[in-house]
Protein backbone atom coordinates (compact mmCIF):
# COMPACT_ATOMS: atom_id res chain seq x y z
CA UNK A 1 0.00 0.00 0.00
CA UNK A 2 1.51 3.33 -1.03
CA UNK A 3 -1.26 5.86 -0.48
CA UNK A 4 -3.11 6.23 2.80
CA UNK A 5 -6.48 7.86 3.31
CA UNK A 6 -4.90 10.98 4.79
CA UNK A 7 -3.20 11.64 1.47
CA UNK A 8 -6.15 10.58 -0.64
CA UNK A 9 -7.42 13.99 -1.82
CA UNK A 10 -4.02 14.92 -3.16
CA UNK A 11 -3.59 11.55 -4.85
CA UNK A 12 -6.87 11.93 -6.69
CA UNK A 13 -5.85 15.09 -8.54
CA UNK A 14 -4.89 13.57 -11.86
CA UNK A 15 -6.48 10.14 -12.18
CA UNK A 16 -5.96 7.92 -15.21
CA UNK A 17 -8.31 5.04 -16.00
CA UNK A 18 -6.89 2.44 -18.37
CA UNK A 19 -8.87 1.15 -21.33
CA UNK A 20 -9.14 -2.63 -21.77
CA UNK A 21 -9.43 -1.96 -25.51
CA UNK A 22 -5.63 -1.73 -25.47
CA UNK A 23 -5.14 -5.44 -24.99
CA UNK A 24 -1.39 -5.56 -24.53
CA UNK A 25 -0.09 -5.56 -20.97
CA UNK A 26 3.23 -4.06 -22.13
CA UNK A 27 1.50 -1.23 -23.99
CA UNK A 28 -0.83 -0.52 -21.07
CA UNK A 29 2.05 -0.36 -18.62
CA UNK A 30 4.10 1.80 -20.98
CA UNK A 31 1.27 4.32 -21.39
CA UNK A 32 0.89 4.44 -17.62
CA UNK A 33 4.63 4.93 -17.16
CA UNK A 34 4.63 7.89 -19.54
CA UNK A 35 1.51 9.31 -17.91
CA UNK A 36 3.15 9.16 -14.51
CA UNK A 37 6.15 11.01 -15.97
CA UNK A 38 3.68 13.70 -16.99
CA UNK A 39 2.23 13.96 -13.48
CA UNK A 40 -0.59 11.43 -13.22
CA UNK A 41 -1.23 10.86 -9.50
CA UNK A 42 -3.57 7.85 -9.60
CA UNK A 43 -4.08 4.89 -11.90
CA UNK A 44 -7.13 2.66 -12.08
CA UNK A 45 -6.67 -0.59 -13.96
CA UNK A 46 -9.80 -1.41 -15.90
CA UNK A 47 -9.42 -4.91 -17.32
CA UNK A 48 -13.03 -5.78 -18.09
CA UNK A 49 -13.19 -8.67 -20.55
CA UNK A 50 -9.54 -9.55 -20.11
CA UNK A 51 -8.57 -13.04 -18.96
CA UNK A 52 -7.90 -12.84 -15.20
CA UNK A 53 -4.38 -14.09 -15.77
CA UNK A 54 -3.54 -11.14 -18.01
CA UNK A 55 -5.28 -8.70 -15.67
CA UNK A 56 -3.14 -9.93 -12.77
CA UNK A 57 0.02 -9.63 -14.82
CA UNK A 58 -0.87 -6.01 -15.61
CA UNK A 59 -1.89 -5.31 -12.01
CA UNK A 60 1.41 -6.57 -10.62
CA UNK A 61 3.40 -4.48 -13.12
CA UNK A 62 1.33 -1.36 -12.40
CA UNK A 63 1.53 -2.00 -8.67
CA UNK A 64 5.35 -1.91 -8.88
CA UNK A 65 5.35 1.14 -11.14
CA UNK A 66 2.94 3.10 -8.93
CA UNK A 67 4.68 2.14 -5.71
CA UNK A 68 7.97 3.48 -7.04
CA UNK A 69 6.35 6.75 -8.09
CA UNK A 70 4.13 7.18 -5.03
CA UNK A 71 1.06 6.97 -7.25
CA UNK A 72 -2.29 5.65 -6.03
CA UNK A 73 -3.08 2.30 -7.63
CA UNK A 74 -6.64 1.02 -7.79
CA UNK A 75 -8.34 -1.85 -9.57
CA UNK A 76 -11.72 -1.57 -11.22
CA UNK A 77 -14.43 -3.94 -9.95
CA UNK A 78 -12.35 -6.98 -9.00
CA UNK A 79 -11.59 -7.24 -5.30
CA UNK A 80 -9.65 -10.47 -5.80
CA UNK A 81 -7.44 -8.79 -8.37
CA UNK A 82 -6.81 -5.91 -5.95
CA UNK A 83 -5.88 -8.34 -3.17
CA UNK A 84 -3.68 -10.50 -5.38
CA UNK A 85 -1.74 -7.45 -6.59
CA UNK A 86 -1.68 -5.62 -3.25
CA UNK A 87 -3.39 -2.60 -4.82
CA UNK A 88 -4.32 0.39 -2.68
CA UNK A 89 -7.96 -0.43 -3.26
CA UNK A 90 -10.77 -0.76 -5.76
CA UNK A 91 -13.16 1.39 -7.71
CA UNK A 92 -16.71 0.07 -7.82
CA UNK A 93 -19.86 0.82 -9.75
CA UNK A 94 -23.54 0.00 -9.24
CA UNK A 95 -23.27 -3.46 -10.78
CA UNK A 96 -20.13 -4.48 -8.90
CA UNK A 97 -19.77 -5.95 -5.42
CA UNK A 98 -21.34 -3.55 -2.88
CA UNK A 99 -18.95 -1.20 -1.06
CA UNK A 100 -19.51 -2.68 2.41
CA UNK A 101 -19.09 -6.21 1.05
CA UNK A 102 -15.84 -5.36 -0.71
CA UNK A 103 -14.62 -3.73 2.49
CA UNK A 104 -14.98 -7.04 4.33
CA UNK A 105 -12.30 -8.58 2.15
CA UNK A 106 -10.13 -5.52 1.66
CA UNK A 107 -9.99 -4.27 5.23
CA UNK A 108 -10.23 -0.83 6.82
CA UNK A 109 -7.08 0.60 5.28
CA UNK A 110 -8.06 0.03 1.66
CA UNK A 111 -9.31 2.87 -0.51
CA UNK A 112 -12.73 2.21 -2.01
CA UNK A 113 -14.04 4.54 -4.67
CA UNK A 114 -17.54 4.46 -6.07
CA UNK A 115 -19.34 5.78 -9.14
CA UNK A 116 -22.90 6.45 -7.96
CA UNK A 117 -25.95 6.61 -10.18
CA UNK A 118 -28.27 9.17 -8.70
CA UNK A 119 -28.72 10.73 -5.29
CA UNK A 120 -30.00 7.77 -3.32
CA UNK A 121 -27.24 5.51 -4.60
CA UNK A 122 -24.70 8.17 -3.67
CA UNK A 123 -25.99 8.50 -0.12
CA UNK A 124 -25.99 4.75 0.35
CA UNK A 125 -22.41 4.36 -0.87
CA UNK A 126 -21.27 7.05 1.54
CA UNK A 127 -23.14 5.45 4.43
CA UNK A 128 -21.41 2.19 3.56
CA UNK A 129 -17.98 3.75 3.66
CA UNK A 130 -16.96 4.80 0.15
CA UNK A 131 -13.76 6.86 0.48
CA UNK A 132 -14.27 8.98 -2.60
CA UNK A 133 -16.76 9.34 -5.43
CA UNK A 134 -16.30 9.44 -9.18
CA UNK A 135 -19.06 11.71 -10.47
CA UNK A 136 -20.05 12.26 -14.07
CA UNK A 137 -20.27 12.53 -16.89
CA UNK A 138 -19.42 16.18 -16.33
CA UNK A 139 -19.44 16.66 -20.10
CA UNK A 140 -20.72 14.41 -22.87
CA UNK A 141 -18.36 11.52 -23.58
CA UNK A 142 -17.85 8.86 -26.23
CA UNK A 143 -15.72 6.55 -24.05
CA UNK A 144 -18.61 5.15 -22.04
CA UNK A 145 -21.67 4.72 -24.18
CA UNK A 146 -23.80 3.85 -21.13
CA UNK A 147 -22.73 6.80 -19.01
CA UNK A 148 -25.99 8.71 -19.42
CA UNK A 149 -26.57 12.39 -20.19
CA UNK A 150 -23.99 14.95 -19.11
CA UNK A 151 -24.51 16.49 -15.65
CA UNK A 152 -23.12 19.87 -16.58
CA UNK A 153 -20.83 21.98 -14.41
CA UNK A 154 -23.57 23.47 -12.26
CA UNK A 155 -25.03 20.15 -11.17
CA UNK A 156 -21.55 18.68 -10.71
CA UNK A 157 -20.67 21.60 -8.40
CA UNK A 158 -23.81 21.00 -6.32
CA UNK A 159 -22.89 17.35 -5.89
CA UNK A 160 -19.31 18.14 -4.88
CA UNK A 161 -20.58 20.58 -2.24
CA UNK A 162 -23.20 18.17 -0.92
CA UNK A 163 -20.82 15.39 0.12
CA UNK A 164 -17.96 15.30 2.57
CA UNK A 165 -15.65 12.87 0.77
CA UNK A 166 -13.33 13.82 -2.10
CA UNK A 167 -14.99 13.85 -5.51
CA UNK A 168 -13.36 13.39 -8.88
CA UNK A 169 -15.06 14.55 -12.03
CA UNK A 170 -15.16 12.25 -15.02
CA UNK A 171 -16.55 12.36 -18.52
CA UNK A 172 -15.50 14.36 -21.56
CA UNK A 173 -12.69 16.20 -19.74
CA UNK A 174 -9.97 17.96 -21.68
CA UNK A 175 -7.33 20.44 -20.57
CA UNK A 176 -9.48 23.29 -21.88
CA UNK A 177 -12.62 22.37 -19.91
CA UNK A 178 -11.10 20.77 -16.80
CA UNK A 179 -10.69 24.06 -14.92
CA UNK A 180 -14.41 24.09 -14.19
CA UNK A 181 -13.99 20.80 -12.31
CA UNK A 182 -11.29 22.31 -10.14
CA UNK A 183 -13.36 25.45 -9.56
CA UNK A 184 -16.28 23.25 -8.52
CA UNK A 185 -14.19 22.12 -5.57
CA UNK A 186 -13.41 18.63 -6.85
CA UNK A 187 -10.32 16.84 -5.58
CA UNK A 188 -9.38 15.93 -9.11
CA UNK A 189 -10.46 14.64 -12.46
CA UNK A 190 -10.44 11.23 -14.07
CA UNK A 191 -9.71 10.67 -17.72
CA UNK A 192 -9.49 7.72 -20.04
CA UNK A 193 -9.05 8.66 -23.69
CA UNK A 194 -7.62 12.18 -23.28
CA UNK A 195 -4.43 10.70 -21.80
CA UNK A 196 -4.56 7.00 -22.59
CA UNK A 197 -4.98 7.55 -26.33
CA UNK A 198 -2.90 10.72 -26.57
CA UNK A 199 0.05 10.61 -28.98
CA UNK A 200 2.14 11.79 -26.05
CA UNK A 201 0.54 10.68 -22.75
CA UNK A 202 3.16 12.53 -20.69
CA UNK A 203 2.44 15.81 -22.47
CA UNK A 204 -1.30 15.24 -22.13
CA UNK A 205 -0.98 14.61 -18.39
CA UNK A 206 1.17 17.74 -18.08
CA UNK A 207 -1.44 19.84 -19.87
CA UNK A 208 -4.11 18.67 -17.39
CA UNK A 209 -1.85 19.32 -14.44
CA UNK A 210 -1.15 22.88 -15.56
CA UNK A 211 -4.87 23.58 -15.39
CA UNK A 212 -4.83 22.45 -11.78
CA UNK A 213 -1.92 24.69 -10.69
Amino acid sequence: MTVTRARLSKALRCYLVTDPGVESVERTVEICRQSIDGGVTAIQLRAKGWPDRRALEAALALRALCAKAGVLFLVNDRVDLALASDADGVHLGVEDLPVEVARRLLGEEAIIGYSPEGERDRAEALRHGADYLGVGPVYATATKADAGPALGVERFTEIVRSVDVPVIGIGGLKPDNARAVRDAGAAGFAVVSAIFYADDPAAAARAFNEVWQ
Binding site: G49, L56, R78, V94, E95
Partner: protein, 211 residues
Amino acid sequence: MSAVPRLHLVGPLGITRPVDYLGIATRAAAGGCDAIHLRVREMAGGDLLRLARSLQRELDAHPDVMLIINDRVDVALLCNADGVQLGERSFDVDDARRLTGDRLLIGRSIHNVDGARRAAEVGADYLLAGHIYDTPSKEGQPGRGLEWLAEVAGAVEIPVIAIGGITIDRLPDVLAAGAHGVALGRELLESADPYATSQRLRQTIDREVRP
Protein backbone atom coordinates in the same frame (compact mmCIF):
# COMPACT_ATOMS: atom_id res chain seq x y z
CA MET B 1 -10.15 -29.64 3.94
CA SER B 2 -13.08 -31.74 2.91
CA ALA B 3 -13.00 -34.63 0.52
CA VAL B 4 -13.35 -33.89 -3.16
CA PRO B 5 -16.91 -34.42 -4.44
CA ARG B 6 -17.61 -37.05 -7.08
CA LEU B 7 -20.69 -35.82 -8.95
CA HIS B 8 -20.44 -32.22 -10.15
CA LEU B 9 -23.05 -30.09 -11.90
CA VAL B 10 -21.57 -27.20 -13.89
CA GLY B 11 -23.91 -24.40 -14.94
CA PRO B 12 -25.77 -22.40 -16.03
CA LEU B 13 -23.20 -21.92 -18.84
CA GLY B 14 -25.56 -19.71 -20.84
CA ILE B 15 -27.58 -22.88 -21.55
CA THR B 16 -30.23 -22.18 -18.94
CA ARG B 17 -31.28 -18.90 -17.41
CA PRO B 18 -29.63 -18.21 -14.05
CA VAL B 19 -33.03 -18.25 -12.37
CA ASP B 20 -33.83 -21.68 -13.84
CA TYR B 21 -30.45 -22.93 -12.74
CA LEU B 22 -31.48 -22.55 -9.10
CA GLY B 23 -34.21 -25.14 -9.55
CA ILE B 24 -32.11 -27.52 -11.63
CA ALA B 25 -29.23 -27.34 -9.16
CA THR B 26 -31.51 -28.00 -6.22
CA ARG B 27 -33.04 -31.07 -7.87
CA ALA B 28 -29.60 -32.32 -8.91
CA ALA B 29 -28.38 -31.91 -5.32
CA ALA B 30 -31.40 -33.78 -4.02
CA GLY B 31 -30.64 -36.55 -6.50
CA GLY B 32 -27.05 -36.94 -5.38
CA CYS B 33 -24.84 -34.27 -6.95
CA ASP B 34 -22.36 -33.31 -4.25
CA ALA B 35 -20.85 -30.29 -6.00
CA ILE B 36 -22.70 -27.45 -7.69
CA HIS B 37 -20.56 -25.13 -9.80
CA LEU B 38 -21.65 -21.61 -10.56
CA ARG B 39 -20.25 -20.79 -13.94
CA VAL B 40 -21.73 -17.93 -15.88
CA ARG B 41 -20.06 -15.75 -18.47
CA GLU B 42 -19.70 -12.00 -18.08
CA MET B 43 -21.92 -11.46 -15.08
CA ALA B 44 -21.25 -8.39 -12.96
CA GLY B 45 -19.85 -9.04 -9.49
CA GLY B 46 -22.93 -7.78 -7.65
CA ASP B 47 -25.28 -9.99 -9.65
CA LEU B 48 -22.99 -12.99 -9.29
CA LEU B 49 -22.83 -12.60 -5.51
CA ARG B 50 -26.64 -12.36 -5.32
CA LEU B 51 -27.01 -15.46 -7.51
CA ALA B 52 -24.48 -17.37 -5.41
CA ARG B 53 -26.35 -16.47 -2.22
CA SER B 54 -29.69 -17.52 -3.75
CA LEU B 55 -28.14 -20.82 -4.72
CA GLN B 56 -26.84 -21.29 -1.20
CA ARG B 57 -30.29 -20.69 0.25
CA GLU B 58 -31.71 -23.26 -2.17
CA LEU B 59 -29.01 -25.70 -1.14
CA ASP B 60 -29.57 -25.15 2.59
CA ALA B 61 -31.40 -28.47 2.80
CA HIS B 62 -28.30 -30.26 1.46
CA PRO B 63 -25.47 -29.19 3.75
CA ASP B 64 -23.05 -31.77 2.33
CA VAL B 65 -23.28 -30.35 -1.18
CA MET B 66 -20.39 -28.06 -2.06
CA LEU B 67 -20.82 -24.76 -3.85
CA ILE B 68 -17.97 -23.99 -6.23
CA ILE B 69 -17.60 -20.59 -7.90
CA ASN B 70 -15.95 -20.24 -11.26
CA ASP B 71 -13.03 -17.77 -11.52
CA ARG B 72 -14.16 -15.14 -9.00
CA VAL B 73 -12.15 -15.75 -5.86
CA ASP B 74 -13.60 -12.64 -4.23
CA VAL B 75 -17.19 -13.81 -4.73
CA ALA B 76 -16.28 -17.31 -3.53
CA LEU B 77 -14.80 -15.90 -0.31
CA LEU B 78 -17.65 -13.47 0.26
CA CYS B 79 -20.42 -16.05 -0.05
CA ASN B 80 -18.48 -18.64 1.95
CA ALA B 81 -18.48 -21.04 -0.96
CA ASP B 82 -16.63 -24.34 -0.62
CA GLY B 83 -14.41 -23.94 -3.60
CA VAL B 84 -13.29 -22.03 -6.64
CA GLN B 85 -12.78 -23.43 -10.13
CA LEU B 86 -9.96 -21.98 -12.21
CA GLY B 87 -9.14 -22.38 -15.88
CA GLU B 88 -6.34 -21.55 -18.26
CA ARG B 89 -7.38 -17.90 -18.43
CA SER B 90 -7.97 -17.53 -14.67
CA PHE B 91 -5.62 -16.71 -11.83
CA ASP B 92 -2.94 -19.32 -11.26
CA VAL B 93 -3.69 -21.81 -8.52
CA ASP B 94 -0.91 -20.44 -6.30
CA ASP B 95 -2.10 -16.83 -6.74
CA ALA B 96 -5.61 -17.88 -5.77
CA ARG B 97 -4.31 -19.93 -2.84
CA ARG B 98 -2.64 -16.87 -1.35
CA LEU B 99 -6.12 -15.33 -1.11
CA THR B 100 -8.06 -18.37 0.02
CA GLY B 101 -5.62 -20.17 2.29
CA ASP B 102 -7.14 -23.53 3.14
CA ARG B 103 -10.67 -22.11 3.32
CA LEU B 104 -11.55 -23.15 -0.22
CA LEU B 105 -10.98 -26.15 -2.43
CA ILE B 106 -9.22 -25.05 -5.59
CA GLY B 107 -10.01 -26.97 -8.76
CA ARG B 108 -8.15 -26.45 -11.99
CA SER B 109 -9.50 -27.22 -15.45
CA ILE B 110 -6.88 -28.86 -17.65
CA HIS B 111 -6.71 -30.00 -21.25
CA ASN B 112 -3.35 -31.75 -21.40
CA VAL B 113 -1.11 -33.93 -19.27
CA ASP B 114 1.57 -31.27 -18.76
CA GLY B 115 -1.07 -28.84 -17.56
CA ALA B 116 -2.32 -31.47 -15.15
CA ARG B 117 1.14 -31.99 -13.68
CA ARG B 118 1.76 -28.26 -13.33
CA ALA B 119 -1.60 -27.66 -11.65
CA ALA B 120 -0.92 -30.46 -9.18
CA GLU B 121 2.55 -29.09 -8.44
CA VAL B 122 1.25 -25.60 -7.58
CA GLY B 123 -1.33 -27.02 -5.21
CA ALA B 124 -4.62 -27.65 -6.99
CA ASP B 125 -6.91 -29.83 -4.84
CA TYR B 126 -8.44 -31.56 -7.84
CA LEU B 127 -8.48 -31.39 -11.63
CA LEU B 128 -11.36 -31.03 -14.04
CA ALA B 129 -10.12 -32.93 -17.09
CA GLY B 130 -11.77 -32.80 -20.47
CA HIS B 131 -13.39 -32.99 -22.64
CA ILE B 132 -13.50 -36.78 -22.67
CA TYR B 133 -16.23 -37.40 -25.28
CA ASP B 134 -17.46 -35.32 -28.20
CA THR B 135 -19.91 -32.72 -26.97
CA PRO B 136 -21.98 -29.98 -28.64
CA SER B 137 -20.34 -27.53 -26.23
CA LYS B 138 -16.98 -28.14 -27.95
CA GLU B 139 -18.05 -28.49 -31.53
CA GLY B 140 -15.29 -29.42 -33.97
CA GLN B 141 -12.98 -30.57 -31.16
CA PRO B 142 -12.99 -34.35 -30.82
CA GLY B 143 -13.12 -35.80 -27.32
CA ARG B 144 -9.76 -36.67 -25.81
CA GLY B 145 -10.89 -40.15 -24.89
CA LEU B 146 -10.47 -42.64 -22.07
CA GLU B 147 -6.80 -43.40 -22.73
CA TRP B 148 -6.01 -39.74 -22.32
CA LEU B 149 -8.05 -39.65 -19.11
CA ALA B 150 -6.12 -42.63 -17.78
CA GLU B 151 -2.85 -40.89 -18.64
CA VAL B 152 -3.92 -37.75 -16.75
CA ALA B 153 -5.10 -39.76 -13.76
CA GLY B 154 -1.81 -41.66 -13.75
CA ALA B 155 0.26 -38.47 -13.91
CA VAL B 156 -1.04 -36.83 -10.72
CA GLU B 157 -1.79 -37.77 -7.13
CA ILE B 158 -4.84 -35.51 -6.78
CA PRO B 159 -8.39 -36.51 -7.76
CA VAL B 160 -9.32 -36.11 -11.42
CA ILE B 161 -12.90 -35.25 -12.34
CA ALA B 162 -13.83 -36.12 -15.92
CA ILE B 163 -15.96 -33.70 -17.95
CA GLY B 164 -17.41 -33.61 -21.45
CA GLY B 165 -20.14 -35.83 -22.83
CA ILE B 166 -20.49 -37.95 -19.70
CA THR B 167 -23.60 -40.14 -19.65
CA ILE B 168 -24.90 -42.87 -17.40
CA ASP B 169 -23.79 -45.52 -19.90
CA ARG B 170 -20.27 -44.14 -20.17
CA LEU B 171 -19.82 -43.61 -16.44
CA PRO B 172 -18.42 -47.07 -15.53
CA ASP B 173 -15.69 -46.78 -18.22
CA VAL B 174 -14.81 -43.27 -17.08
CA LEU B 175 -14.42 -44.39 -13.47
CA ALA B 176 -12.47 -47.47 -14.55
CA ALA B 177 -10.05 -45.18 -16.42
CA GLY B 178 -9.12 -43.61 -13.09
CA ALA B 179 -11.54 -40.71 -12.68
CA HIS B 180 -12.38 -39.87 -9.08
CA GLY B 181 -15.69 -38.49 -10.28
CA VAL B 182 -17.48 -36.73 -13.12
CA ALA B 183 -18.83 -33.31 -13.98
CA LEU B 184 -21.85 -32.70 -16.17
CA GLY B 185 -23.05 -29.47 -17.73
CA ARG B 186 -25.40 -29.63 -20.68
CA GLU B 187 -26.04 -33.34 -20.00
CA LEU B 188 -27.78 -32.45 -16.73
CA LEU B 189 -28.96 -28.93 -17.52
CA GLU B 190 -30.96 -30.24 -20.46
CA SER B 191 -32.11 -33.40 -18.74
CA ALA B 192 -35.89 -33.73 -18.52
CA ASP B 193 -35.51 -34.84 -14.92
CA PRO B 194 -32.28 -33.61 -13.28
CA TYR B 195 -33.27 -35.31 -10.03
CA ALA B 196 -33.68 -38.79 -11.53
CA THR B 197 -30.62 -38.42 -13.77
CA SER B 198 -28.45 -37.38 -10.83
CA GLN B 199 -29.82 -40.21 -8.76
CA ARG B 200 -28.93 -42.82 -11.41
CA LEU B 201 -25.45 -41.33 -11.85
CA ARG B 202 -24.97 -41.34 -8.09
CA GLN B 203 -26.04 -44.96 -7.75
CA THR B 204 -23.57 -45.98 -10.45
CA ILE B 205 -20.76 -44.06 -8.76
CA ASP B 206 -21.55 -45.59 -5.38
CA ARG B 207 -21.61 -49.05 -6.94
CA GLU B 208 -18.40 -48.66 -8.98
CA VAL B 209 -16.36 -46.80 -6.38
CA ARG B 210 -15.86 -48.95 -3.35
CA PRO B 211 -14.84 -47.00 -0.25
